[in-house]
């Protein structure tokens, strides 16, 4: 059986890749993709813990199911936002979207 640390390491690597995508890429769509990867890393953690801690099995699996649903809804809202921003500003480069500047 594959030990717990391997799964957790994989999840951490996925999360880091996602975080990098969110922080470093300019394209808003790629940023959204990064968020998805981070979410999936979290879901993977939940599933792994439901396998290794039997008393949390049911609630962890329901939780991860909710996570997948929310991720889908979030992508829908996020892509709608990206389209709206593109319509308004003719760009989806996140560095140029800085109206909230103080």
């Amino acid at each position: 059986m594959i030990p717990l640390s391997w799964y957790l390491t994989l999840a951490a690597v996925l999360f880091t890749i996602g975080l990098y995508g969110v922080l470093a890429r300019k394209n808003a769509v790629i940023v959204l993709m990064g968020i998805e990867i981070m979410m999936n890393a979290a879901n993977l953690n939940l599933i792994v813990f439901s396998r290794f801690l039997p008393q949390t099995r049911l609630s962890a699996q329901v939780f991860s199911l909710f996570g997948i649903t929310i991720a889908a809804a979030e992508v829908a809202v996020g892509l709608a936002l990206v389209i709206a921003i593109f319509k308004m500003m003719k760009t989806i480069e996140v560095e140029k979207i800085e109206q909230l500047k103080g």
């Binding site: 922080l23 940023v31 996140v94 560095e95 800085e98 109206q99 909230l100 103080g102």
Partner: protein, 666 residues
């Protein structure tokens, strides 16, 4: 009719209501104003006559020397548990005054209808006249000295208002002010007297009935025994000091020397006012006051003072009257002189004589003033006798009535002035010979100056401009009625008809001095001599150019004409003194007080400058720096807020990492 005695207040009530109604009357109804006033005063006159009938018809209630006095008390107010009672009095003195005031007022009101006919302010005139009549009537029926004093001041105010009736004339305004201020000086004495009286006796009621009062035997005894210590004079019996203080008020009101200066100037007012207020009634209020306070004054040390002031005034004013050319001013000095006569009579103990002369004088002096008004009216406003003459033909009614008044004033048998003047002279003859001779010489001067006036105005040839004309009937009828009174009113006080009924009425039980034919003969003799001298100087050959007396007396005549320079003396002492004092205090004010104030202001200014500097430098500086700091750090912090979501997330991520490491360390 008995009912009326209990409702004395009705008498001043009607003129007062008339004054109020006229004051609030609409402009369009101004024609009715004089009739309101005349109607009201006629009602008062009728009521006075009814009162007289009721009074002599009623059973007499003895008071003092069998004097009958009717009182009606009213509760004024209560202080603590002490009620202050005011009351009205009906006694022979009040009745005499009521009769004199209402009849003269009625006639003067009617006369004014003609005299003031063309004046645009006739409504105001009748309002003031009614107010005056109401206050004067209130004065004579008052039994409480404070109420009397209030009415006393009210007549003073009415007098002020009426002297200054033509206030657009500066002389009239100045005369009104002078009259008010000079009488006020006397009133201060009067008021101090009232305060002292109240302090010593605790009451200002004159006759009390069942209440404590001044004229009760206990109070009078108390006042006669006790004394106050004054600086310079030492101990003075209370009745004396009170008498002198009250007499001060009387001196102001009755224009006695040295307060006489206001009365001649008061002639700036309309002539009916001079007749009513400054000849017949208000100026007699001082004499009335002395008469009213007679039970207190009798036998006190104030009596010689009153007698001598009266005698001096009589002589002093009579000599001035000799050299006057203004028809009204001459009469004014004559009035002062006659008031002095009354005071002299009262001061010598001749209560009846003084009041009797007050009454007869009211009639013939009102007549003379109204006659002079008629002359002025007929001569188109001319008042200088040098520009008159020969009016006998042009104004026959005025002439004959004026002659009647003049003969009465000169004291020719059997006119009213003869009887009353004779009584005063008789008192003087019996009690005080020097004053008798003063009185006799005044009688001579009176006859002289009055006939000087008659000859200058009515005889000779016309020296004025335009054509003199007789006055309208509304002015002549009052003259005729007053002439009848001036001729016959004296008969009620003669010792030869029913043994002097006036004396029995006014002071029943008083012993009357036996009539002295010597006194009568001398007074008639000097009066006739005065007329003769006047005829020699002014009647024999008509006046041309300057006054013949001037060539005989020269400097003395000028001195008299300038009224002994009394006005100049007062101007240079009191008026200039008061002005100088005022100026001195203004200087003090400007130098010391203003100086102090401006120094203080300057110091405050310096202090505030320093304060401002401190504020700017320390407080504002500190705040400014703090604000700059906050602004700077804000500017720095502002840069963190880039508006890029990625930067925020980066910060959050870095923060999370930092927190993680922090949690490991701590």
């Amino acid at each position: 009719m008995k009912w009326l005695i209990g409702h004395l207040w009705l008498i001043p009530f009607f003129p007062l209501v008339a004054a109020a109604v006229i004051a609030f009357m609409k402009k369009e109804k101004r024609e009715a104003a004089p009739f309101f006033a005349i109607g009201a005063i006629l009602v008062s006159f009728v009521l006075s006559c009814l009162l007289f009938l009721a009074f002599i018809g009623i059973q007499k209630t003895p008071y003092g020397h069998g004097l009958s006095v009717h009182l009606s008390h009213y509760l004024w107010f209560v202080t603590g548990t002490t009620p202050e009672i005011v009351s009205l009095i009906l006694d022979p003195l009040t009745l005499t005054m009521l009769f004199v005031v209402t009849i003269v007022s009625s006639l003067v009101f009617i006369y004014s209808l003609g005299y003031m006919h063309e004046d645009p302010n006739i409504v105001r005139f009748f309002c003031f006249l009614s107010l005056f009549a109401a206050s004067m009537l209130g004065l004579v029926i008052s039994n409480h000295l404070l109420i009397l004093f209030m009415c006393w001041e009210l007549v003073g105010v009415s007098s002020y208002l009426l002297i200054g009736f033509w206030y657009e004339k500066p002389e009239a305004a100045a005369a009104a002010k002078k009259a008010f201020i000079v009488t006020r000086v006397g009133d201060i004495g009067f008021f101090i007297g009232l305060l002292l009286l109240y302090q010593k006796t605790g009451t200002l009621l004159l006759y009390g009935g069942s209440y404590p009062a001044i004229f009760s035997h206990e109070t009078l005894d108390l006042l006669k025994i006790n004394a106050v210590t004054l600086p310079l004079f030492g101990g003075v019996i209370l009745t004396t000091i009170l008498g002198v203080l009250l007499f001060f008020g009387a001196m102001g009101k009755s224009a006695q020397f040295p307060f006489h200066v206001w009365l001649p100037d008061a002639m700036e007012g309309p002539t009916p006012v001079s007749a009513l207020i400054h000849a017949a009634t208000m100026v007699a209020a001082g004499v009335f006051l002395v008469g009213r306070m007679f039970p207190l004054l009798e036998g006190s040390g104030a009596m010689p003072v009153i007698a001598w002031i009266g005698g001096i005034t009589a002589l002093f004013a009579a000599t001035i009257a000799v050299a006057q050319f203004d028809i009204k001013r001459l009469l004014a000095y004559s009035t002062i002189s006659q008031l002095g006569y009354m005071m002299m009579g009262l001061g010598l103990g001749g209560y009846v004589a003084g009041i009797f002369h007050l009454m007869t004088h009211a009639f013939f002096k009102a007549l003379l003033f109204l006659g002079s008004g008629s002359v002025i009216h007929g001569c188109h406003g001319e008042q200088d006798m040098r520009h008159m003459g020969g009016l006998r033909k042009a104004m026959p009614v005025t002439f004959w009535t004026y002659l009647a008044g003049t003969l009465a004033l000169a004291g020719i048998f059997p006119l009213s002035g003869f009887w009353s003047k004779d009584e005063i002279l008789l008192e003087a003859y019996l009690h005080h010979r020097p004053l008798y001779w003063i009185g006799t010489s005044v009688a001579f001067l009176t006859a002289f100056y009055m006939f000087r006036q008659i000859f200058m105005v009515f005889f000779g040839s016309w020296r004025g401009h335009g054509q003199a004309h007789e006055s309208p009937q509304t002015m002549l009828w009052p003259l005729r009625i007053l002439a009848i009174l001036a001729v016959f009113a004296g008969l009620i006080g003669t010792p030869f008809l029913f043994g002097n009924p006036f004396r029995h009425f006014l002071a029943p039980g008083h012993h009357a001095p036996d009539p002295s034919f010597f006194v009568m003969a001398v007074s008639t003799g000097v009066a006739l001599f005065g007329i003769f001298v006047a005829y020699l100087l002014y009647g024999r050959k008509p006046l041309t150019g300057e006054d013949p007396l001037l060539s005989y007396l020269k400097g003395i005549f000028i001195l008299l004409q300038r009224k002994y320079y009394m006005d100049e003396l007062y101007q240079n002492t009191f008026v200039k003194g008061a002005n100088g004092l005022a100026r001195f205090f203004r200087e003090v004010d400007e130098l010391v007080i203003d100086g102090f104030l401006s120094r203080t202001g300057w110091a405050t200014l310096v202090l505030s400058r320093f304060n401002q500097w401190c504020d700017n430098f320390f407080l504002n500086g500190g705040f400014d720096r703090a604000c700059d700091g906050i602004k700077g750090s804000g500017g720095q912090l502002r840069r963190v807020q880039t508006g890029r979501a990625q930067d925020y997330l980066l910060i959050a991520a870095v923060g999370a990492v930092v927190l993680y490491f922090l949690s490991r360390i701590l």
